[in-house]
Symmetry: C2
Subunit: 402 residues, 2 copies
């Protein structure tokens, strides 16, 4: 028998309790042991909940109960979530989390603490919701040198872009629709500005390249500047606009890491990732491109990833698997992205197109602006060429190898 | 230091030797130990190979060398591959294989033998080439009841269909092109008739549902009957034709398992899986649909999966992870697929269309035949309705939930 405590009883916390209850037989059979949900830590009471009896308000009850083996942290943020995680690890309990903010900011310290205490700190649910990516990235791709990892990491922005592309909605209308469906928060900043995607690409890059990548090192651009004409110009050259988090290992051993809207050729499988779905592509020197696809958020998908981690923590209690990485530092990330890309540029009507640019057109395009694709260029060289041009949008084109 | 022997020196065997040599530093760093390739068992000599010194012709050298920890079997088939696998396991060595025929036919016995001997028998490379699917299916989806698993499991047939769809080639011309590129064997029967896909869906179903599913239980239809008019009719209703292996868990606890061409709606991510790529979708009760995508064959992708398994076998030498399943039996699979599907039917010009059918048209469709989509029906009911119709093709439409 293994005792479980859940911290936080929002969407994910509730989902974890439900998945444990619903798939109990199945889980016990796979584990050859029982999971017993013993505590749920919340601020409020939930007298109507089927789990009302388990609710407590004082973390020290959990911390001091030796029958609690695994603590599930679904509080979010870096405040009490961090404190309780540290206290649980120090008390010799494994911790499973869906909290990408905490893992992206403090993953290295927390994983080091877990290793010191001989327990697990697992975070499969922090990236891609239910999509298995953390463990496959570490284990199944072990034989590869990974050169790049990128993906559609945020369901809210992908939903907004999908509705702009598919239904011709403006950004504002698509956002309002996403909010009405519960796919976007009342304050959508963290999603729309790319902050959430930034945290996730940091976690993936840290794991893929073995050093802690701090979110502050990441150039982060959201989707607020994506207009309907960008969507239409992209379509005119067979592309869809998607927000990607990308991390590329350079020849110099430093990571180029950024979050930005990209034009994705329609034949690339990422272009078919619609609505709230997420997908992550990993490029290895032996395996080529591999893509993982599924629901990147949502109660049950995320809870399913959490519960799989709980089962892992329980079954490897005496021999934890460390999915950790080394410390961060100035030498981890390159100061800026010096990669060479074909750029999509939309600009206020310039006197003349810069030379060698391929102009894009679509029926009904707005007066007074032009859009074009460049030759392959670094961002610095792009900026030089566009010195006298009033740029409205400049997005990278994803090179696809299918 | 861990000693490795490779059995067979064809495409995969050569790839394994190359990946171990090429990523040596990376692998040793991840393992905190060295892999030493000690033997390559072949019938012929390869005096020009950089690995010429390692070549041996007598398996007992490997069997009797206590410094060999892991045997990599890339011989294929169920003859000497099976014999050497058994002898290696009995000698207390872990075995890693890419041999789907052997795993599909004898996986249960070989895994039981491995468990008895306390060693690993790993087969990630047997399905989906380099795509991580076996371990994610077992570990990451542990918290789910899996209801269905299906995928594009054979790169040869997917290449042929892609060229029929994209370039309008006939089946024969597309096959000839695939052979010219080395994507199809001189004798393409195992691919074209669905036998290869059948073995892979058996392995996936056995793992997902926990009982050995024998290939003989699987209704297997290849792509020989897919004509260019099927491709065009499918396109007229927004679909692409793909060969799927599918395994569905019924309410009665029995598996419906089959290999057959399907119409896939273009909005489904599987429709975007082109050429020699493979993709596998898993449907779980918490996670929803998750898809894994990548190169389903090829020297380095397959070798990458093999080497990851070798690393797993080495790092878990004292505590092997068993990715195994229970015995087969009459009660595992339902005798036939009684699922309800929308069917695509192409028939010699019938006197009248059966009632309630939606006729498909495309410009330039051949005289003397018709194609239509049915209401949702079982195969039995379909056959009743079509009793007096001369059917040329009848394929299921994949229900998509995106």
């Amino acid at each position: 028998m293994s005792g479980i405590a859940i911290l936080g009883f929002g969407v994910v916390g509730t989902g974890v309790a439900e998945v444990i209850a619903r798939n109990r037989l199945h889980i016990d059979q796979k584990l050859h042991s029982n999971l017993e949900l013993k505590y749920i830590l919340t601020r409020k009471d939930f007298p109507q909940s089927p789990f009302a009896d388990l609710i407590v308000h004082d973390f020290s009850l959990i911390e001091n109960d030796p029958t609690v083996d695994v603590v599930v942290e679904t509080i979010g943020g870096s405040g009490s979530a961090r404190e309780f995680t540290e206290r649980a690890l120090r008390a010799g309990k494994s911790v499973v989390t869906s909290n990408k903010e905490l893992v992206a900011a403090h993953g290295y310290e927390l994983m080091s603490l877990a290793r010191e205490k001989g327990v697990s700190y697992l975070y499969e649910a922090s990236v891609g919701g239910g999509i298995p990516i953390i463990r496959p990235l570490k284990q199944c791709l072990a034989a590869n040198e990974i050169s790049e990892i990128y993906g559609i990491l945020n369901g809210t922005t992908n939903y907004i872009l999908t509705r702009m592309i598919g239904a011709g909605l403006s950004f504002e209308d698509a956002l309002a629709e996403a909010q009405a469906h519960g796919y976007a928060e009342a304050d959508p900043t963290a999603d729309v500005d790319g902050i959430d995607a930034c945290r996730k690409i940091c976690i993936l890059a840290s794991l893929a390249f073995g050093r802690h990548v701090d979110p502050s090192a990441v150039s982060t651009e959201g989707i607020k500047r994506v207009s309907l004409s960008d969507v239409n110009y992209a379509s005119s050259c067979g592309c869809k606009i998607k927000l990607l988090g990308r991390a590329v290992m350079g020849q110099d051993g430093k990571i180029r890491i950024f979050v930005a809207p990209h034009l994705i050729p329609e034949r690339d499988p990422l272009a078919g990732v619609e609505a709230i779905f997420n997908a992550i592509t990993v490029r290895g020197n032996a395996i080529g491109n591999v893509m993982f696809y599924g629901q990147g958020a949502g109660k049950l998908p995320t809870a399913s990833a959490v519960v799989a981690d709980v089962m892992e923590a329980v079954s490897r209690k005496s021999d934890p698997k460390y999915l950790d990485w080394g410390p961060g530092g100035e030498d981890v990330a390159a100061p800026k992205d010096d990669g060479i890309y074909t750029w999509y540029v939309r600009a206020k009507e310039p006197d003349a197109l810069p030379e060698g640019m391929k102009q894009l057109r679509f029926p009904g395009e707005p007066d007074g602006e032009r859009a074009f694709l460049t030759q392959p260029l670094t961002r610095d060289d792009l900026e030089k060429i566009l010195r006298n041009v009033q740029v409205c949008a400049a997005f990278r084109l994803l090179k696809t190898d299918q």
